[in-house]
């Protein structure tokens, strides 16, 4: 078969198809609360968020309770997990959310875009999501 250059409108179509939303893409809300004080649960939630992001899912990742420690500038008890979370932007998770009490001033790590989220906003996000998973 002789290769021929496709017409320019075909090239444009190909590029647009690459940018089109994945038809299998669902809205996920994954919350890391670490209520069980378990690094295993925090790790499992992080792995799920990264996997979902890698598979083209629309992931909202929220931190609350013990999970907020992962957003501190210092890694604390979870050094490898803290480092792993730094890779979130490479999995199309460009921002994360901190569900924290208003009266609690928290200094966040600067390698992630951390946005505040109220409890009401979390509830609205949960209602708007297809898949809600809490760790």
């Amino acid at each position: 078969m002789r290769w021929s250059k496709p017409p320019s409108d075909q090239i444009a179509w190909c590029l647009l198809s690459d940018l089109a939303p994945n038809s299998n893409s669902q809205r996920w809300l994954i919350t890391l609360s670490g209520e069980a004080r378990s690094a295993t649960a925090l790790r499992a939630g992080t792995d799920l968020a990264l996997a979902a992001g890698a598979f083209g899912q629309n992931v909202t990742l929220a931190f609350t309770g013990e999970g907020l420690e992962l957003l501190h500038p210092e890694s604390g008890l979870h050094e490898s997990l803290h480092r792993l979370l730094g890779s979130l932007p490479y999995y199309d998770i460009g921002r994360v959310y901190a569900v924290a009490p208003h009266d609690k001033a928290i200094l966040f790590r600067d390698d992630l875009t951390v946005m505040p989220m109220t409890q009401q906003e979390w509830s609205a996000a949960a209602a708007a999501s297809d898949i809600v998973v809490n760790y």
Partner: protein, 54 residues
């Protein structure tokens, strides 16, 4: 065995987390299969409901 019964009655796939199976040195036999995070994401996307227990 309860899980066997569920699998027989519903034809549901019973997937074991590969990392957990490795950590607990579990050899998955029928009706269980080993699955990774990709399988979990795919199952969640294809399902009507996702229920998790931590």
């Amino acid at each position: 065995m309860a899980w066997q019964q569920i699998a027989d009655d519903t034809q549901a796939e019973l997937l074991l987390c590969s990392q957990a199976a490795e950590e607990h040195a579990i050899n998955a036999g029928s009706p269980f299969k080993i699955g990774g995070l990709g399988a979990l994401v795919e199952a969640a996307v294809r399902s009507d409901r996702v229920v998790s227990f931590v």
